[in-house]
Amino acid sequence: MRGLAEDDKTPFLGRRITPGIRIVAIAVISIILMMVDHASTSLTPVRSTLAVATQPIQMIAEMPGEVAHYLGRYFDRGQLITENEALEQKVLLLQARLQRLASLQAENERIRALLASASSLDQNVLIARILSVSPDPYRHYIKLNKGSSDGVFVGQALVDANGIMGQITDVTPLDSRAILITDANHGIPVEINRTGLQTIAQGSGKTDELRLPFLANNSDIRADDLLVTSGLGGRYPAGYPVAHVTSVVHQPGDEFLDVVANPTAHLNRGREVLLVWTSNTEAQAREDAVASEAQPQGETGAEPTAP
């Protein structure tokens, strides 16, 4: 075995650095990096560059699951046929409903026009595939195969066939990361469909549970109430289903109700999601872009260049 004292000390400017000094330096740098990362978006380019570099490994890690998925499809012909039949019936049903919806929408537009309201029901959507789910069981993130080159932006809402799933938090040119509504750090402004009562639904960290911690004891809410997005805060488009209330418990002595809801979207199933553009959110994104472009000028104190 060799002498260690010399190995550990790399020469630097003629001096030798011990691991002790090095760990202190690393700790300081890490803490500064984390604070910068937390407070500003200036590290985003570094992150997205590295993310593109690690893409291959992530794709390889996803491969066994994908292969199993496709093999399963290949062999289950009977299941495919039944699935196809069920889907055909569903399409028929939905088309019938859609016909009614078209006339309803037209009517709604007419009435809105009469009211001179600016808001429109037109919404663009883009289908994105889920590339991977967070390997960390305590963070509910998914990775999508659409990025800023497809027009995806931070804060964009994500829905599936049954309701709101979450919102985009990071965008790289080729993919994006979205936080799900059940992440413990996520809150979504909702209203109770039956009464219009507005509140906030917070993620619980479990994939099938949302909590509504800010409802006073006398609030009109029951089990089976549907929660829909209220559109307040400007992130989520209004009127999408979010969750069904599963239990309302009043703890004697507590000032707020203990309300648990079950997300309507299938958060841990399915491989496709819809990214939603509304005229509202697009305007918001443009404003954000303008603001972020204007910001550096303001900071440096330079005169904005007038056209």
Binding site: I23, I31, M34, D37, I60, G205
Partner: protein, 161 residues
């Protein structure tokens, strides 16, 4: 022992890639909670076995990569791996005197340290997960260490001849 000989950087990268693959493999929720920190174990293995080429800065860079993939605060896993790596460096003379499969017990506190740094930073960043099963990966990592480390050792010995 492969301490005295330099293993090629390519091999180290390949093992790290393999560990990353295992760490990212999608698992059901219940299994995911006890998934061993195999990537951290690999980094610490190289810190332990390659004192001349794989040090704290390399460990830190490996952690930064994880932060990018997981979307955690930039530097969180970097710091955790560097701190754990430092602990390994401080006790490596002792570790070298044991065969790989007996090192688990000595490394258990190091794995606890690694998870604790992550736990702490998560708490400060407001993403606290304070459930007892959060600490299960410490045990599973210690359990797989003998197997994983001896595989890595074989591969490295095979390469250096």
């Amino acid at each position: 022992m492969i301490i005295e000989r330099r293993v090629s950087g390519l091999l180290i990268l390949a093992t790290l890639g393999a560990a990353l693959f295992l760490a990212l493999l999608p698992l059901p929720d219940a299994l995911s909670a006890i998934r061993p920190a195999i990537y951290a174990a690999t980094v610490l293995f190289w810190v332990l076995m390659q004192p001349m080429s794989f040090g704290l800065i390399a460990a830190w860079c490996c952690g930064i990569l994880i932060d990018v993939i997981y979307g955690t605060p930039f530097g969180e896993h970097g710091l955790a791996l560097a701190v754990a790596g430092y602990a390994v460096i401080r006790m490596r003379e002792l570790l070298w005197t044991f065969p790989v499969w007996q090192q688990s017990v000595l490394l258990l506190p190091v794995f606890v340290l690694y998870e604790f740094v992550l736990f702490w930073i998560d708490g400060v960043a407001g993403a606290e997960v304070n459930q007892w099963w959060r600490w299960l990966p410490v045990l599973t990592t210690a359990v797989i260490w003998p197997f994983w480390a001896s595989i890595l050792e074989r591969i490295a010995e095979f390469e250096v001849g």
